[in-house]
Every structure is written in structure tokens, then in C-alpha cells.
């Protein structure tokens, strides 16, 4: 589903990714670990098309991301890849319902279908009773649940999660991980989770370690 080959990226004289080779199967959950500065976030940025590699290939479901134009990258992020952030990044002026619905609107999903998916997702993340709340009225765990629901809304093939539990206490973190695992199973969505936490690896089938821009271990 995702194939990365010989991916390199430098910022000035600093090489951040060195000929990285990596792959993921559909519905697979992979943990990406490594010390700060090892290139995890740059790899994520390259996969989502936010950053352009200097060389190498990235293919998602057979389509080459590296060769995509800005418009195609936007489309890619709209329907194939979603991202979950450590700091949630909910749109602060939109309610829970509107935050989840937003990417569907961007995708042009008809109103009826949007409402059906929305009902399904708020149920999935157990936030039916908070659907009209604003982000600043939610706890950290609730916010991350909204972010997960938003990421799932477009039924993407791949979810990139950047330290999804990094800003949560351990109990909340645990429940978020359970949720990620269950939705990944249910929607058959692949997940690449950047993490420092061994707990995250517990829900993943594979853990990949990075150091100095290279994949050093693939277990």
C-alpha cells in the first residue's frame, strides 16, 4: 500500500533522511521510533506531501507522491492520507460536529451522507453527548478523539499519527490507543504512528527504529 524507496532529504548541509526504504501493507499499524532529530517527522512530512524529498520514491496505492503537483497533493491529503497531531489541531472556532464534518465538506460529500458518517463517527469515538461542544470545552482525551474521528471521516487509506498520546495522561492515552486500534481494525486503515512511547508499540504489528536519518531496525 505504501512503498518508500531510497528517500533522501537535506536541509542545507544537514542530511535528515538517507536513502530510506520502507513499506506498509493495507490496514497495517506501524510504530516509528527514534531519538529527536532522527528524521521521523521529516519522513511523515514527505509522506503527506508537506515536504518534498531531494531524491527517492514514495508510492501510495500505486500513485507516486513525489511526482504529484500541489493540487494533487491537496487531493491526496483530502481523501487518502489523514494526520493526527500531538496537539490535536482542532479548528478552534468549529464545534466537535463541524470539525469532523469539515473534511467531508472539502471532499464534497453530499449532506445526507455527511450526516450519516458523522453520526457513525461521534458514536465510534463516544462523543455523541459532546457533539455541539467547542474544542476549548473538551478535555485533552476528548480533543484527541475528535481529531481521530476527523481523520477517519474521509475513510483514508493511511493515517499518520504524530505522537498521538504525547500530550495525554497515561489513562487517557491508553483509551486513545484502544480507540486507534479498534478503528484501524474496523475501517481497515493503515496507521503510521510516530512515538517515543512503548505503549504505542503495543497496538502496532511492527516497530521501525530510525537514527540519523536511516532506518536501523525493523522488528
Amino acid at each position: 500500500m505504501l512503498t518508500i524507496s531510497k528517500l533522501s532529504k537535506s536541509y542545507g548541509e544537514t542530511t535528515v533522511l538517507r536513502e530510506v526504504d520502507f513499506f506498509m501493507k493495507a490496514g497495517e499499524r506501524v510504530a516509528l521510533m527514534g531519538p529527536s532529530g532522527s528524521g521521523k517527522s521529516t519522513l511523515l512530512n514527505c509522506i503527506s506531501g508537506i515536504d518534498r524529498p531531494d531524491s527517492g520514491r514514495i508510492e501510495l496505492e500505486g500513485k507516486s507522491i513525489v511526482e504529484m503537483e500541489e493540487r494533487e497533493l491537496c487531493e491526496l491529503r483530502r481523501d487518502s492520507i489523514s494526520t493526527i497531531f500531538q496537539f490535536f489541531h482542532l479548528l478552534p472556532t468549529l464545534s466537535v460536529r463541524e470539525n469532523i464534518e469539515f473534511p467531508l465538506q472539502l471532499l464534497g460529500v453530499p449532506e445526507k451522507e455527511r450526516h450519516e458518517r458523522l453520526a457513525d463517527l461521534v458514536g465510534e469515538v463516544q462523543l455523541k453527548h459532546r457533539a455541539d461542544a467547542m474544542p476549548d470545552e473538551l478535555s485533552g482525551g476528548e480533543r484527541q478523539r475528535v481529531a481521530i474521528a476527523r481523520a477517519l471521516a474521509t475513510r483514508p487509506a493511511l493515517i499518520l499519527a504524530d505522537e498521538p498520546t504525547g500530550n495525554l495522561d497515561s489513562t487517557t492515552g491508553e483509551s486513545v490507543l484502544e480507540l486507534l486500534e479498534s478503528v484501524s481494525e474496523r475501517y481497515q486503515t493503515a496507521m503510521l504512528l510516530v512515538t517515543h512511547s512503548p505503549d504505542v508499540t503495543g497496538i502496532c504489528q511492527r516497530t521501525v527504529h530510525m537514527r540519523d536519518g536511516e532506518i536501523v531496525e525493523n522488528e
Binding site: Y11, T14, V16, G34, S36, G37, S38, G39, K40, S41, T42, N45, S48, I50, D51, E70, R71, C74, E75, L76, R77, R78, D79, S82, T83, F85, Q86, F87, H89, L90, L91, P92, T93, L94, E98, F102, P103, Q105, L106, L107, E111, M134, R150, D162, E163, G166, V194
Partner: protein, 879 residues
């Protein structure tokens, strides 16, 4: 940077702010230029105002040099034969007297022809003036360094000004043509008066003759306009001056105005106080607008540097130090802007002084100034004002910078900005209540001056501020409107911003509201004026042909049509009836005003005055019959009623050469021709009081079937020295002049919209920069650059709609204040309230289109910034 500025402040300034300036010099440069323009406009208006006041007839009011006292009749001229009585009244007080005839002639035949000031002075006595002063060489007329032999009694030899000689390329021995009492006359130049830097500037169009010559030339034999009195210098100077003043007052205070040149200047220039105040307020607005833009731009720059500030806070820099550093930035911007503004202002003042002097000459009094001079006090005020305004504008962003918490997490998106004052409706409601109270205050009348609508100005300011605060209440409605059915994600996202509006939203909307409101209010004033003037002209002008002396447009014109001319003129065939008018300038209660004598056509068709308070008898001969013993009926203009606080039924005395005459106000009429005010009585009386049968204006009603154009052409052939126009031409000329006067307001409206939209653009920069992380999220969700720009456009449109709706409400209120309070109190004119809906719709469309476009542009540009990467790296310092 002085010692009060601590090391951290210096470091912040030099390492962060200054480096930012060097990296992106455009922003500070634009801010300096904006502020400089504000300071320049402010300074130039102040300098031009000062010049218009200081240039008040100084030359012609002191022909004998530095005169100590001026004596002039309260109405008309007085006889030379009265001079011995004046001398007797002075007794043994040592004083020299210089009689002056001061009148006018036209340069050309048209009604808008420039006016020559004609000064007749005693060429025999004048050389003695040199011995009367320690400070100067005597009369400015002596500057030719030539004796007066051969000029005595001559009415065909004149001195002209140096500037006029240069303009026309003429000199001694050349001839010039002037128009007096309807006739063209040829005069010979006897000499050229040279400007002396130590003396007041010589008026451009000035003709100086020997007194008997001037009297003969202008048909004023035996008459003089005033006497300049000079007291010899010495230890008893003040005592003699006081004594002379006391004796003159005892002798003739009933008939004459006795004043020092300084008092004369004050009383004359007070008339234009309201006009000058209006200009100063407008120029201050330019500076405030500059401050608004600085505020917006500095806020945007604080947001851009927030992460740096957060790091500084982590490093132990105190909020106070951060605030100081940013205040230093605004102070430096202010100093640079003010410096440049002063330089620009000095240049701009030269152009401004001509425009203001021309208006002052037409409406109020003669001012000879053609250039503004370097005035250190005014420059200092403008410089300090500009710097203070910049500091004030910088205060809010500086406070915001200081409130940044240590290690401010860029992703938490601390939203805010804008004035806290704008976030609560209560101050807005309170201000509206106060504003309503101000609107009903009576005018402030400074001593010897005309009324100033201070209450009206305060009311307008409070309404503006109050509605700006309340503008935020409209956001909820705007959000609903923007969202529509909620299917467009960009509109949805934009609408959601108004649910939790930031201070910056409120500030931007307030700026748009103020700009739209003031522009539309100005439009309402102009439309009200134009509609009223149109109606007034339509009702007033019922005659077919209007005749006037040349140069009738000028406030100083004393040109008239002599009896010999107008009698022949009205005897021409084809005339059904005639209205005649003679106007005199008089001094009443220390202020200059007009007394007019009229006699109206009694054939049925006649002048139709618009009544503010109508008389019982409105017939054409209503002013002829006495209303009591020595009591004459008078109609007064609205402006006169306001200046002198008179109502129908009031009685007062009018000064005339025949002594004071008692009149009773029997009606008050609207008059948009002059704000000085007019007392209208029957010409039957004024011709006796002033011993004068000449006229200023004649209205002719032609018999039916007479072709007015052909009749007019015949008249002009026989009387080339008078100005004659058909009814239609006169109406067209009046409206053309009106539109010309107000054309500047349209330019001001355009500038206001441009500035407001620039403010909106800067506000959008601030709003979007602050939401960079959010924009990053939008991109992660798949939004394209164009979609983000479109969302910004909808947000900009939302702000514009708020500004327009609030501005419309403001304009209706401000328009009401301008029409019914400011205008009525300052100028005494009642106008019909007229809303120019088409212009307002066009203004709204322009503001919406430009507002939407600017916001789209800002959104498109900012959407392309890659700070999403930077922000992501701050979440996890990992690459």
C-alpha cells in the same frame, strides 16, 4: 537610546526589531511614509490656517506704516469734511491722521473676475509717516524710493504690486484696464511697490493712488473709508494712545468702530474660526488614520515575532522590558515619520495656503498671504503630535507583546489582539447616550467670534466611538449570513471565525465602520446641501435676467452699478418688472455683517424667499411701510438670526451714516449665499441712510414673448461692464461653483475607503498569521491554497459587511448631526436631510469588492508560507 532604556530593551531592539527592519525594510518604510503623510497634512493645514489669519489685509490696513489706531464707520463711508471734528475731538493728544479710501474694482467683466483693491491715501501727508516710528521707515508705499510729485490728485496714475507687475510683465508707464461701476477704465502705472521682508506682503492685485484721485476714479468724491492714527514714539506713547482711544470713543463710538490693528485682525479673522476649526479636525483625522494603520501593522509584526518573544520570556526578559522595546520601535517610527512629515508638510503648506486663502477671500475677508512661512511652534506641535500618535498606536501591540507567556506554545494559538474596550457593549451604549446629550448642546460662541458647534463635534466623535464598540454585536448576524446553508466549507470556516471574534476582528470592523460611516455621512451632507440649494435656487430665482457688478463673487467686492447705468438699463423695452438690491458691509456688535436694501417688482412675479419664520405680510412692498415710530420692518437671514440670537419680533439698532436706525424683525428667511448674515430692509430707506442710489444686483422680469437670449445679447452689447446672465445660466453657475467646492469631499471619500481597505488587509495579515497553525491543519485536511484564500475572502467580506452595516447606521446619525447640528450652529443654514442611496450603494459595492479582493490576496499569500513546517517542528524538535 538613553540610559533609561535597559540592556535587555536595547538588545531586543537591536537584535530583533532592527534586524527585522533590515530584513524586510518595506513594512517600516511604508509605516514611516503613512505617518509622514498624516503629519504633513496636519502641519500644512495648521501653517496655511496661520498664514490665512496673519495675512489678513495687514498691508492695506496699515498704509501709513505701523498704525496705532484705526477708525472706521460702522456702516458705509464717511465724509472728509468730518475730519476737523475728529481732530478737535483728539484735542492736544499728539497724533497724526492718515485718511484712507479703501474700495474695489474688477480686473475683468465677469462675475468671477479677480478683484483689485483700490487704496487712496494722502500722498502729501504720507512722507511724514517716516518720522513717526522707531522701527520702520514709514509707509510701505514709499518703497518706490520716489517722490509723489506729479501724482497728486491724479486718478489715472497708480502704483501696482511687484508680483502683479511681474505676472503681467508691465512696469512704469505701461497701462492696465479695470472695471469700475460697469465701465472699463484705462490707467497708467506710476510705479511698482516692492515687497519688503520686514513688512506685510503686498496684495497681488492692489492699486494705490493719491486720495483725491482715488475718490474721483471710484466716484467717491469727498468720502473716506477709515482713518489710520499714529502716535509718535516716546516715553508717553502708551499714555497718549490710551488718551486718544478714550477721547475717540467719547466722541464717536456710536458711529465709528475704534480699534487697534490687532483688534481689527482678531474681529475679522474670528469669522473664519469655524471654517479653520473644521479644517484642523479634518487634518487631525488624517493623522489618526495613520495611527490606525500603524496599530494594525505593528500588531501583525508582534504576532510574527511571538515565538521570539516567548523565547525571550523564557530567558528571563520581563514583560515590562518587552513592552518598552516595542514602544521604542513605535517611538522611532514616530520620530522618523514626523521628521519626514514636517519636511513634506512645509512643502504641502505652500499649496494648501493658496487653496485656503482663496476660500477665505471668497467667504470671509481679504488675506494677502500666498505662501506659508516656517513657524517653529507649529512644526514643534506637529512633530510632537505625530510622535505621540505613533506611540499611542504602538502601545496596544507592545502590551500584547508583553503579555506573551514564556515558551509560548505556537500551537495553542493564543488568540486576542485589539482593544479590550471593543469587547464589551456597555461602554458603547454609554457613549451613545453621552453622544445624544452632546447633540443637543447649544453652540459655543467665542468672544467676538462666530458660533462653533462643539457639542456637535463631540457628539459625532462619541457616536463614532460608541458604534465602533457595538459593531461586534453584528458579528453573530454576519456569521449566520455567511454560513448560508452550510454546505460550502470555506464559507463555513469563515463564518465560524465570527462566532469567537477576536479583538482584531473588532478593530478591523471598527476601522471599516468609521471609514464607511464618515464617507457616507459626508455624502449625506453634500446631497442635503445640493438638494436644498437646488430647491432654494428654483424657488428664489424667478426672474429672467440677472445683472451684477463685475467680481460680485468675492467677499471683499464693493463694486456696484451706478444709478446712471442701471436707470438706463431698466428703461429698455421688453421689461415687465425689476428687483433691485444694494448691499453694505456694516459692523454690528463688533462683528461684520451685511445690511441690504431691496425693492421688489410688484407686477405679480417676484422673488420668492424661503421662510424659516415667515412674516405676516409677505408681499413685495411689505418692507416699505414703517411698523411704528421710527421703527422699520426688517427681514433677517437665518445666519444673522444665529449670529445675533434674534427672533421674529425682536428690535435692534442698525448703524448707518445717518446714525442708528431702529428695526423690528418681521421675518427670518433661508440664505445659503453667506454665513455672515444679512438684514434686509427696503431700499427706500437705505438709499437715504447711505445717500446712495447705486445697486449691486438687478433681477429683470421680461414681458411674455420676449426672447431672453436675444434680449441679453443686446444688453451685453450696450453694457459690456456689467455681468448679465439668464436664469438658467445663473442656476448652472451656482451649482457648478457648489460642485467645485465639494469636489474635494469625493476625493476624501475615496481616500477613506482605500485606507480602510488597507487597514482590513493588515488586519487579515494579523488574523491569518496568528492562525498559521490552523492554516497548516487546513492544508493537512487537504485545503488548497486557493481554497484558503477563498476562506480568507469570505472572512474579509464578513468584516466588510459588518463595517458597511455599522457604517450605514453611523452615517445616518452623523449625517443628521452634520445637517441639523454642526451646519445649523456653525453656518446657520437649514438643510433638507437627503440620503444619496445610489452613491451609498456604489460605496458599499466598492468596499465589498476591494475588501474581498484584498482579503483573498492576503489569504493566498499567507497560505503559501511554509510556517506549518516550523510549527510542526516546535511540537517535536525532531527531524
Amino acid at each position: 537610546m538613553n540610559s533609561a532604556i535597559s540592556e535587555p530593551v536595547r538588545l531586543i531592539w537591536s537584535r530583533i526589531i532592527w534586524r527585522q527592519w533590515r530584513r524586510a525594510p518595506k513594512v517600516p518604510s511604508v509605516l514611516v511614509v503613512i505617518l509622514a503623510l498624516g503629519v504633513a497634512v496636519y502641519l500644512s493645514v495648521r501653517l496655511a490656517n496661520r498664514a490665512a489669519v496673519t495675512g489678513f489685509s495687514l498691508f492695506t490696513e496699515s498704509i501709513s506704516g505701523d498704525s496705532d489706531l484705526l477708525l472706521r464707520p460702522k456702516a458705509g463711508t464717511f465724509r472728509e469734511a468730518d475730519l476737523p471734528q475728529l481732530r478737535d475731538a483728539m484735542g492736544a493728544v499728539p497724533a497724526s491722521m492718515f485718511p484712507i479710501l479703501d474700495t474695489t474694482a474688477a480686473e475683468g467683466p465677469g462675475s468671477e473676475s479677480p478683484i483689485f483693491r483700490i487704496i487712496g491715501t494722502d500722498f502729501v501727508a504720507l512722507p511724514n509717516a517716516a518720522y513717526l516710528s522707531e522701527s520702520d521707515a514709514g509707509s510701505p508705499v514709499e518703497t518706490t524710493q520716489k517722490g509723489f510729485a506729479g501724482l497728486l490728485g491724479r486718478s489715472d496714475l497708480v502704483y501696482i504690486s511687484e508680483s502683479y507687475a511681474a505676472e503681467k510683465q508691465i512696469g512704469e508707464g505701461d497701462s492696465i484696464r479695470i472695471y469700475i461701476e460697469g465701465a472699463a477704465l484705462q490707467l497708467s502705472v506710476a510705479g511698482v511697490l516692492k515687497n519688503d521682508p520686514l513688512r506685510p506682503q503686498i496684495p497681488h492685485r492692489l492699486l494705490v493712488l493719491d486720495l483725491p484721485g482715488a475718490q474721483k476714479l471710484t466716484g467717491n468724491e469727498g468720502l473716506i473709508s477709515r482713518v489710520e492714527i499714529r502716535i509718535p514714539p516716546g516715553p508717553d506713547y502708551q499714555k497718549n494712545l490710551d488718551l486718544a482711544m478714550a477721547r475717540l470713543n467719547d466722541w464717536g463710538s456710536e458711529r465709528f468702530v475704534i480699534e487697534t490693528p490687532g483688534q481689527r485682525k482678531d474681529s475679522a479673522t474670528q469669522m473664519s474660526a469655524a471654517f479653520r476649526l473644521n479644517l484642523t479636525i479634518l487634518s487631525t483625522l488624517a493623522l489618526i488614520v495613520g495611527a490606525y494603520l500603524i496599530l494594525q501593522a505593528m500588531e501583525a509584526s508582534v504576532i510574527q515575532r511571538r515565538s521570539e518573544i516567548a523565547i525571550l520570556r523564557c530567558l528571563g526578559v520581563t514583560p515590562r522590558q518587552i513592552q518598552k522595546a516595542w514602544l521604542v520601535e513605535s517611538a522611532i517610527l514616530g520620530l522618523l515619520g514626523s521628521l519626514l512629515g514636517v519636511i513634506l508638510g512645509l512643502g504641502l503648506a505652500q499649496g494648501m495656503v493658496r487653496a485656503i486663502a482663496s476660500t477665505v477671500n471668497t467667504l470671509y475677508y481679504e488675506t494677502t498671504t500666498s505662501s506659508a512661512s516656517f513657524h517653529l511652534g507649529e512644526i514643534g506641535v506637529a512633530f510632537v503630535f505625530g510622535t505621540l500618535v505613533s506611540l499611542l498606536a504602538g502601545w496596544l501591540p507592545a502590551r500584547e507583546a508583553a503579555s506573551t507567556p514564556p515558551a509560548h506554545a505556537a500551537n495553542s494559538g493564543a488568540r486576542g489582539g485589539g482593544l479590550k474596550l471593543l469587547q464589551k457593549p456597555l461602554p458603547g451604549i454609554l457613549l451613545m447616550v453621552i453622544a445624544t446629550g452632546f447633540a443637543f448642546l447649544p453652540p459655543w460662541i467665542p468672544e467676538g467670534g462666530g458660533p462653533v458647534a462643539l457639542g456637535g463635534y463631540h457628539s459625532a466623535f462619541c457616536f463614532l466611538l460608541g458604534l465602533s464598540i457595538l459593531a461586534g454585536s453584528l458579528f453573530r448576524v454576519v456569521a449566520k449570513f455567511l454560513k448560508g446553508r452550510g454546505n460550502d466549507p470555506q464559507r463555513n470556516y469563515a463564518a465560524s471565525q465570527f462566532r469567537l471574534p477576536e479583538g482584531r476582528h473588532r478593530l478591523a470592523a471598527a476601522g471599516l465602520l468609521a471609514a464607511f460611516g464618515m464617507s457616507a455621512a459626508m455624502g449625506i451632507l453634500v446631497a442635503s446641501f445640493e438638494t436644498t440649494l437646488n430647491a432654494w435656487i428654483r424657488q428664489m430665482l424667478k426672474a429672467d435676467i440677472y445683472i451684477a457688478a463685475p467680481g460680485a463673487q468675492s467677499s471683499i467686492s464693493e463694486n456696484k452699478i451706478p444709478e446712471s447705468v442701471w436707470k438706463t438699463l431698466v428703461d429698455r423695452p421688453g421689461i415687465e418688472g425689476v428687483d433691485r438690491l444694494r448691499r453694505y458691509q456694516i459692523s454690528l456688535a463688533g462683528k461684520d455683517t451685511y445690511l441690504a436694501g431691496a425693492d421688489y417688482n410688484q407686477s405679480g412675479r417676484t422673488l420668492q424667499l424661503i421662510w424659516v419664520d415667515p412674516p405676516v405680510n409677505r408681499s413685495a412692498d411689505a418692507l416699505e411701510a414703517m411698523v411704528g415710530n421710527d421703527l422699520h420692518p426688517a427681514w433677517i437671514s437665518e445666519g444673522f438670526a444665529r449670529q445675533y440670537q434674534k427672533r421674529r419680533g425682536d428690535r435692534f439698532k442698525l448703524p448707518t451714516p445717518e446714525g442708528a436706525k431702529k428695526v423690528e424683525v418681521s421675518g427670518i428667511y433661508a440664505d445659503y449665499g453667506s454665513e455672515r448674515g444679512t438684514v434686509l430692509v427696503s431700499r427706500k430707506y437705505t438709499s437715504v441712510w447711505f445717500d446712495d442710489s447705486s445697486l449691486n444686483n438687478i433681477a429683470i422680469y421680461l414681458e411674455s414673448g420676449v426672447d431672453e437670449e436675444a434680449w441679453l445679447a443686446n444688453l451685453q452689447k450696450s453694457f459690456p461692464g456689467v455681468v448679465a446672465r439668464t436664469n438658467r445660466h445663473l442656476r448652472d453657475d451656482a451649482l457648478r461653483l457648489f460642485r467645485q467646492t465639494f469636489s474635494v469631499t469625493y476625493a476624501l471619500e475615496g481616500i477613506a475607503v482605500v485606507i480602510a481597505v488597507a487597514g482590513l488587509g493588515l488586519a487579515m495579515v494579523g488574523l491569518l498569521l496568528e492562525r498559521m497553525v490552523e492554516l497548516g491543519t487546513l492544508k493537512e485536511l487537504g485545503m488548497t491554497r486557493r481554497q484558503i484564500a477563498k476562506a480568507a475572502m469570505w472572512e474579509g467580506l464578513g468584516l466588510s459587511i459588518t463595517g458597511i452595516v455599522g457604517g450605514l447606521i453611523l452615517s445616518l446619525i452623523l449625517g443628521w448631526i452634520l445637517v441639523y447640528v454642526v451646519n445649523r450652529q456653525s453656518f446657520g443654514w437649514t438643510l433638507n436631510y437627503e440620503i444619496p442611496w445610489v452613491s451609498i450603494a456604489a460605496l458599499s459595492a466598492a468596499m465589498l469588492a476591494t475588501g474581498g479582493f484584498v482579503a483573498w490576496l492576503v489569504g493566498y499569500r499567507i497560505a503559501n508560507l511554509r510556517s506549518d513546517l516550523v510549527d510542526r517542528s516546535t511540537f517535536e524538535a525532531d527531524r
